[in-house]
Each structure stands twice: as C-alpha cells, then as structure tokens.
C-alpha cells in the first residue's frame, strides 16, 4: 500500500499565490478526481507535486509513503513512484521513447529483460502505433498519439501514484477511451493510485473516480463521491466559484 499525502499545499507562480492550502490523501488503488473551472489551480497542483521550475511551494507538505517529496529533485520524485501525465506533452526532438524509458528504468535500478517486448505489448493494448516508439518523443504526434504515448509510459513505468493533468484534452473519443481504460486497469492490476485533474466528467465513463474534489480559486471547496461529478455536469461550476471567494 502506498499513500500520497498533500497537506495544506500553498504554491505561488511568478509571485502570485495560486494554491491556498490543498489537502488531499490518495491511497493505492484509489482514483481521486480534482475538478474545477479554468484558473482554479488544477495544473499548478500537478506541476507543484512534480517540482516543475517556476512553481514555488510556500507552505505545506507533500509526502509519499512518509518521504518528503518536496525535498527531492523532480527525477527522484518519479523514481520514488510518482508519474505525471502532462496536459501538453513536450516534444523532445531526436530523443526516442525507447531511450527515455530505458534511462528511466536504469534510474529505478529496474531492468526489464525485454523492454521492447513490453513496449510493444503495452502499445497494442492502447492501440498506439509501436512505430512511433522509435521516433522522437511527441514530435509531430497528433493529440491522441501524445496522450497514448503518455499512457504507454505510465503502463511501462508502473508508478505508485499517477497524476493525470487533463488526460481528456486534445484527443478524440477513441483515444480517450483507450487511455482512460488503461489507467483504470492499472488501478486494479497494480494498485496504482490516481489523481485525475479534469474539467469534464466524460473521462469517468472508463476511469471511475472513488472521490471527487472541487477546486476553485486555489482551494478544495467540496469533496464527495462520484455523484458530485454528476452534479457538476448538471449545474456547472458557478456555485463553487462564488463559494471560494
């Protein structure tokens, strides 16, 4: 069992406070959806947990199985078992996915005896063209290919806790279903915990949240079960944006 504990996390970007004290605990196998309107701080939460430059933590703590995540450089956070699926995966010219995964596994002191076989199997599972594995990461990939690529990495690296920043943006219905289903499977097969950041509940058709949290103006203003997502689908965020003032 793993546990990611976020306590009273406060984050500034360029001197402006974006997160005003986020508290969340994610256990193995749990899916936590964080939903909120634009500008609520959803992407800031994912960036801060992973240590992206420019996101300054000014208060609170993040612990993974008791280890102080905020004290680690980004790569060690990943090695410790966190994984970020990016909203806009970065293009890295000339660097192949197979190289990235290979180095990522070396850093984990994990060797997959047949990495290529694993990659091919995982690619087939989410209908990702395995030819793309030997092309530069994300370069000239479509929106769907980028998210499938992100999901493939998650499947191969098997993190304890995954943070998915708007998995559902910029991809078609088929790709969304494949990616969401693979994440859901990971929560069942390897007990991965997931922090799922999204605007929309359509993602939840395949990836079933156990908990839903509403983020507005840098705070979690309401938490509940899956029914909260249905309520948001019906009524929108208007009520919560006001509450957060």
């Amino acid at each position: 069992m793993s546990k990611l504990e976020i306590r009273d996390l406060q984050v500034t970007v360029g001197g402006t406070q974006i997160l005003n004290g986020i508290t969340l605990t994610i256990n193995s196998g749990e899916v936590h959806a964080v939903m909120g309107p634009n500008g609520a701080g959803k992407s800031t939460l994912s960036a801060a947990i992973m240590g992206k430059p420019g996101y300054e933590v000014v208060g609170g703590s993040v612990k993974l199985d008791g280890q102080d995540v905020l004290a680690m450089p980004t790569w060690q956070r990943a090695v410790a078992g966190l994984h970020l699926v990016m909203q806009y995966p970065t293009e890295v010219p000339g660097v192949k996915l197979s190289e990235v995964l290979s180095e990522a596994l070396v850093a984990r002191h994990a060797t997959l005896p047949n990495l290529n076989k694993t990659i091919n199997e995982e690619a087939a599972r989410i209908s990702f063209d395995s030819e793309l594995v030997n092309r530069a990461v994300n370069v000239d990939f479509s929106g769907g290919e980028k998210k499938r690529n992100e999901t493939l990495q998650l499947a191969v690296l098997k993190p304890k806790i995954a943070i998915l920043d708007e998995l559902d943006s910029g991809l078609d219905i088929d790709a969304l279903r494949d990616c969401a289903k693979r994440v859901e499977d990971a929560t069942n097969e390897t007990g991965m915990g997931a922090l799922v950041i999204t605007h929309y509940s359509r993602l939840f058709e395949e990836l079933k949240p156990d908990f839903v949290h509403i983020l507005a103006k840098g705070r979690i203003v309401k938490s509940g079960g899956p029914e909260l997502a249905d309520e948001l689908e019906r009524d929108g965020y208007a009520a919560y944006a006001v509450t957060a003032e």
Binding site: A78, E91, G94, V95, A104
Partner: protein, 356 residues
C-alpha cells in the same frame, strides 16, 4: 617571410568576432604534417599531375591564409575518371607532431563526369602541440558527379586551424560537404559552395562542440550561379564552459539562379552561462522566382524538454545528454556512414560530462 605578412583584422566583416588579432605568425615556422592516405588506389595522383589540379576552383585567393597555402601547398590530389565509382572511402589522416609549426595541407578532389567518391579528412594533434594548420580543400564536381567530403577536426587543445573549403558544382552534380569540429583552441573554417551548372545541388552540414576556452568559427557561402540549383545547409553546435562559436553565412543567388532553392539553418546550444555563440545569416538575391529560407537560434537547453525527461525519472545529467544528442540527431543522420562516427559520439559524451 611569414613575419612580414599583413594579417587581416576583426575590423573586416568576414573576420568579425574571430580571434585573428591573437595570431602571431612569427611563432610558427613552415613545417609538414604527418599524413597517411588510405583507400586512394586508382585515384590518388601525385607529382606534376597533382600540382596541375591546384587552384582550379580558386582563381581568386579569398584571404592571405588561402594565399599562403597556394604559395607552398602540401598537395594531396584525388582524380576520379569519367563514369567511375570509387567504392572505397578515401581516408586522409593528418597529424601535427610538434609545436611551432604552420602547415599548409591542400586537398584537391577532381571528380569527372558522372563519377562518385567519398573522402574523409581527419586532423589530429596532441593537446600539448601549439601549431597552426591552414588547410585548403578544393572540390570540383563535373556534370552529374557525386562527391562526399567529411572533415573531422580532432586537434588538440592548443592547435589553431584557419581553413578554407571551396566546392564548384557543374550541371546536375551533387556535392556534400560535412564538418565535424571538436578540437583546436581556435578553429575556423570558411566553407564555400558555388553551383555553376543547371540543376547542381549541394549539402553543407556541420556538427561542432566547443568546451573549455575553445572557439569554433564558421563562415559559409552558398552561391547559386545557374538555374534550378539547390542547396541545403545545416550547422548545429554546442558551446560549454567559456567557449565560443561564430557562424555567419550567406546565401547568394545571382540573376542566373532562377528557380533556385536554398536553405540555411544554424542552431547552437549554450550549455553554460559563460559560453557564447553568435549566428548571423544573410541573403543576397538578385532574381525572382526562388525559394529561400534561413533560420538561426542560439540558446540553452529547453527547460520544458529537460523537465519532461526528468519527470519520467531520468536524472539531470542523462536528460541533458539525451537532449543534446537529440539536438544533434538530424546532423548525425546526415553524416556519411563511417568508422569514425562512434569515436565522434564518445568525444561528444566526454565533452558533455567533463568540467573545466
């Protein structure tokens, strides 16, 4: 008589940013390099036949260094007959064995109609050798000839190079000039291609990496003097520590160069705060109906690329290596297959990993 020479100065545009002001020719006496030629059977000519080929591509001396080379050249001449394909790669290796020497190697590649040849020329020296190499390369590609030339600068830390490459392409010929520049204290290469026959094409490609206090200095010319000619230049490099690089390049299309396509790209990664790079692309076009582009960038490794790799669990120094090799990938892809590529890769890794 080298002391009496009037050397150029950085006041001249073509020497701007260079380290020419530091050069003291009185420190050097004319000397020879140790040179070997492999794979030249059937094309390597010597004596009067070789001397007769010198200067065919360089009627006007572009500067005093080319002039000095032309005055007292150590000639290697390769002559490929009509319709001949020289299947073996010709490998020329020069070694600068002692300090205080200025050497004038001259390579002439004369490719007759519809012939083909690949030539690799390597320059090496030990780190403690303080000498100056002034190489000149002339490439003449006759109609439909195909010439590939790769220069590899693996000079030691204290050697200087002031070099010149000039290629002339006749109708439907193809010339590919590659430079890999890793060594030397100050290493300059002026690389000029003149496409004088309709349909001639040229590729110029360079990979350079400077560290410590090195400087790599490139001046290029893509001269289109006939219709439907095509040139594509890609120079990519990295500067580390307090090293420097300069690239200035000109695409020139004369009024005869209609329906020409010319591309020029120079990109330099600055891997340390103290490193410096300059990139100056220029166009001079005297006709319409051409397709031209130039691009140049100087800057550090992209933060987002670094973060992306690190967020997968790749440690910073490996992430940097991946990004730098990724950056060089399109250049390495273009390089002709050669037994030296592995060594080049290792040297780049060593430069990336080392600190000075």
């Amino acid at each position: 008589m080298t002391t009496a020479l009037a050397l150029p100065s950085t006041e001249e545009e073509i020497w701007r940013y260079s380290r020419i002001n530091e050069l003291d020719m009185s420190k050097f006496a004319s000397g020879k390099l140790t040179t070997t030629v492999e794979g030249g059977e059937g094309v390597h000519v010597s004596g009067a036949a070789a001397t007769a080929l010198v200067g065919a591509c360089m009627q006007v001396q572009p500067d005093v260094f080319a002039q000095l080379n032309t005055d007292t050249p150590d000639v290697i001449a390769l002559q490929i007959g009509k319709n001949k394909v020289h299947t073996q790669t010709v490998v020329i290796t020069h070694s600068v064995d002692k300090s205080g020497v200025v050497a004038y190697p001259r390579l002439v590649i004369d490719a007759a109609e519809n012939s083909e040849i690949v030539v690799v020329e390597r320059f090496t020296s030990a780190d403690n050798v303080h000498s100056l190499v002034v190489p000149v390369v002339e490439v003449h590609a006759a109609q439909s000839a195909r010439v590939t030339y790769l220069a590899i600068n693996e000079l030691g830390k204290n050697a200087w190079q002031i070099g010149h490459q000039v290629a002339v392409g006749e109708r439907d010929s193809n010339v590919r000039l590659f430079t890999v520049a890793l060594g030397g204290d100050y290493a300059r290469m002026r690389a000029e291609v003149r496409l004088v026959g309709q349909g001639a094409s040229a590729q110029q490609t360079a990979l350079y990496f400077a560290d410590g206090t090195q400087m790599h200095d490139f001046r290029t010319l893509q001269s289109h003097e006939a219709p439907r000619t095509h040139s594509d230049l890609l120079f990519k490099g990295a500067v580390k520590d307090t090293s420097k690089s300069v690239y200035t390049g000109l695409i020139k299309i004369t009024e005869n160069g209609t329906k020409t396509e010319a591309f020029q790209t120079n990109r330099t990664l600055t891997l340390s705060r103290g490193a410096w790079a300059e990139s100056v692309p220029n166009l001079e076009i005297e006709t319409n109906d051409v397709k031209c582009s130039h691009a140049s960038t100087v800057g550090p490794i992209d933060d987002d690329q670094r973060f992306y790799l690190e967020s997968r669990g790749v440690p910073p120094e490996i992430a940097e290596r991946l990004v730098v090799f990724g950056f060089f990938d399109e250049v390495i892809d273009r390089l002709p297959q050669s037994e030296f590529l592995a060594g080049i890769r290792d040297k780049v890794i060593a430069k990336l990993g080392g600190t000075k």
